[in-house]
């Protein structure tokens, strides 16, 4: 096969002098390898050690790589063979190609200078767990397809609820991400509204359902409307105050207007730690409004929920115990590798009613403790995600996780202080957690020029390869975000970022 020849030749053509992966030990050539069956356990042991060593080295020196690769779209597609190989290839070659072909196109989320979006970390205990998860390859369909998977999920999510001061009797399960989890919340909300309409003898009209969230909420909330085929404009975006928090009185007004206009309000979504500024909606006030109108109340605490384990930050979660559904992402700020969203539901029967294909009268578990998560979830199968959360919670303990979060918060506050104290920079939002929103605003420069200057500034910072920042727009002002959340980020990185900020800002001004 001509295509295959191409593959082999290209693959062999890469220089290997600087590769960390051992190319000399060599696995047997494919023609010698038994064609049926898996890799041998001995080979797995050898290459597994190599992979672990490579990762240990990577964790030791992440700064060796630019945070963001300097590559053009399509470059990797063009560099790789157009067809997959017909004959198998030795693992040492694959590992070497991983290092030489793939890694140079990777954006390094595990780099201490990664401060974009919400910085996240796959901590090493979590990585160890992922290897074991993949090796066991458990698929959670029913309880019996892995009792350990189901029950460790129950245990770790109850542990986490306790740390967060949330009701321990809430139903908890993991999902792949906050978007999918919020989808579950809105599905349950729709089901509850349908049931309410039935009980009250009212017409239930999907097109009339209205959902309320802040204009600062994550796009995944609006997306649930698209997914469910509900009119996008029925996602009401409630205005915020000066600190980017949803204004409860505007929410109440909107609901009243909608009720008068023949709409059917069904769900309020509050956010703890909005995507742009990490602002916190007035959760207790939203819970009051939800209660008074019998609406479903969902809380998205994807990023900042983790801070609930800190006594000094727990007040931001006040009122959450009144939510119907609540989510946070241990894969964001609890050092758990992607993906693991913790999703809690106070009224799991609504979820089950909406999503179970088994009618209630036919449910016949041998035991009510043998929970089948598939009856409560859109996905049927699930990975053994709980194992990594168990590793992380035990290895760090609450004290270790608290120490890391506090350090991130301290570093963010330190950066914010530098911004505040410098006459040419201004903070754009409060910093309740570990994200600083600010901009460069040199004296005597027209407001009209500032957005372009700040755009050039962030591009210059990111082009150094030392840091990766993302931006947002607040009150029409182009705003830089410094998101501290990587477990490798230290004081020295923040100091260096500030140094660079001063250097590049004067360049951005004059260029």
């Amino acid at each position: 096969m001509a295509d295959d020849e191409t593959v082999r030749n290209e693959s062999e053509g890469f220089p290997n002098s600087d590769a960390a992966f051992d190319l000399t030990g060599g696995s047997p050539e494919p023609e010698l390898r038994e064609l049926i069956g898996d890799m041998s356990p001995d080979e797995f042991r050898r290459f597994g050690h190599q992979a672990v060593d490579w990762l240990a080295d990577y964790f030791e020196h992440p700064e060796r790589y630019p945070v963001q690769p300097d590559v053009t779209p399509g470059a990797l597609v063009d560099a790789l063979p157009r067809s997959a190989p017909d004959q198998g290839e030795p693992m040492d070659r694959i590992l070497a190609d991983f290092e030489r072909q793939i890694v140079p196109h990777v954006t390094h989320w595990n780099h201490p200078g990664f401060m974009g979006y919400f910085a996240t970390s796959g901590s090493m205990p979590g990585v160890l767990a992922e290897a074991l998860i993949a090796g066991l390859n458990n698929i959670g369909l029913l309880w019996k397809t892995s009792p350990a998977l189901v029950e460790l999920e129950q245990v770790t999510l109850r542990w986490l609820a306790e740390w967060l001061g949330l009701p321990k009797d809430w139903f908890g399960m993991t999902l792949a991400g906050a978007s999918v989890a919020s989808l579950h919340a809105v599905i349950a909300a729709r089901e509850a509204a349908k049931e309410q309409a039935r009980v009250n003898g009212k017409r239930f009209d999907l097109d009339k359902l209205t959902l309320y969230t802040s204009e600062q909420a994550h796009s995944s909330i609006e997306k649930t409307m698209l997914v469910l085929g509900l009119p996008r404009e029925n996602c009401r975006k409630v205005g915020v105050d000066d600190e980017f928090r949803m204004r409860a009185e505007l929410l109440e007004n909107l609901i009243q207007e909608d009720l008068a206009g023949g709409f059917q309000p069904f769900c309020i979504v509050g956010t703890i730690g909005t995507t742009s500024t990490t602002s916190v909606d007035p959760i207790a006030a939203l819970a009051d409004i939800a209660e008074s109108h019998s609406l479903w109340f969902h809380v998205d605490a994807a990023y900042a929920g983790a801070a609930g384990i800190l006594p000094e930050k727990r007040h931001y979660l006040d009122g959450c115990e009144r939510a119907d559904t609540f989510l946070l992402n241990p894969h964001k700020w609890l050092f758990t590798p992607m993906d693991l969203t913790a999703f809690y539901c106070r009224r799991p029967e609504e979820l089950r009613q909406a999503l179970s294909l088994v009618p209630a009268y036919l449910r016949s578990e041998q035991d009510e403790r043998a929970v089948n998560f598939m009856e409560y979830a859109v996905p049927l199968g699930r990975r053994f995600r709980a194992l990594k959360l168990w590793f992380v919670m035990r290895y760090f303990g609450r004290a270790g996780l608290m120490a890391n979060l506090r350090e991130h918060i301290r570093l963010a506050e330190g950066f914010g202080k530098r911004v505040d104290e410098h006459p040419d920079f201004e903070r754009i939002a409060l910093t309740p957690f570990s994200v600083v929103c600010f901009r460069y605003k040199p004296a005597g420069v027209d407001e009209g020029r500032l957005n372009a200057i700040n755009q050039r500034l962030i591009e210059a910072i990111n082009a150094t390869g030392e840091f990766f920042l993302s931006s947002t727009v607040l009150h029409d002002q182009f705003t830089l975000r410094v998101a501290i959340g990587n477990i490798h980020t230290r004081e020295k990185h923040v100091e260096r970022l500030w140094e660079l900020m001063l250097e590049k800002s004067s360049e951005a001004l004059t260029s």
Copy 2:
């Protein structure tokens, strides 16, 4: 903290004499460990090697464990501490507890005797990749958040399409599972129907949308209706022929009836490899019908799609090139660890139209090759799944994967032959791939007693811990399924299963 003390004591109380994990090397006690930051790379290296060694040993001797654990629901919950530890714990203790507390509650999908549902395998090359995926911890939001993640996904999915003889220009992306992928298909179908209604000036009524699939289709198809809030009864389950294949003429009749009754047919879902029997719907005939009525045509080839890489089985996929969406699960029968569904779409603009929050006129990628999968998907973030598919496709090559699939098919046919040749057993369905459906039917026993006898038979087999089979009901007959798909399964396992079948069947008859 009293709770924490409990944790430590319970944890220390487990006997460690038979643990493979080294407890003597010991990581520093938590009070000595630096509280801020991750594990040290040296510690990672040491424990990583231990985890790899444990896995190598596990892969060498999976038969050491019963396939399904003999545990009662809630046993693990009761055995684990009620609270998470306040202080961190040493990794050697966590690994030892993994082995002694968690593994005994695991159902061993990687055991060669696992023949339930669709047997799957996380092959060792895939496991290596998972460790690297977790270490890099890339999160695919936008192209720039990891060019490697996005482009390797494009490359591997195009490679796979080529192997399967599918159009190479189809849009491909990975998703977490077939349920979620079929949800995307139906969302795109709904969007297309809406657009059609708009163009034709017809009313678009969600409650009138009807979807057609076989009564043998996977439950996830019906579930998409629940998720999307469409009437469950609008999922029309088309009858099947003697070989459990959807009857095209019944489909055509149902569509005609629905059109006459004011419904709006919008989607046909065909299956290649149904869940119970692995039957294959008449794909080309369904494509004809979909075309003639302008309906979306989705093909669910979750399990059997993999067989498309075999020239002698490729005919089962004939007609797929006319599908609008198509999915298969490399995590089922292509030796890729859970989870990775390959999802293809011929008309990705429908998906984007339905799911992108960015209006078309505002899309401003620097380059059209910088694809942002989030615009086509329900989830926002994604793991670097493509890396494991790349490892698996390269390590085995097409030839290696073909050899494994052929061996599974040969083993299944061998088992089927034993069934056919024995007067007291009968095959209930054809075996086009690697799943055998059969039952015990001893001469002279009333049909009325057979279901209970076969139920006892499967329970007796599973109770041995040597095998795990699942069952189904076909024509009201309780049916046993032997699903070959684990990469460790060999001739000797099939022989032993048959031996056990003969032994336990006579016991089931008389007990």
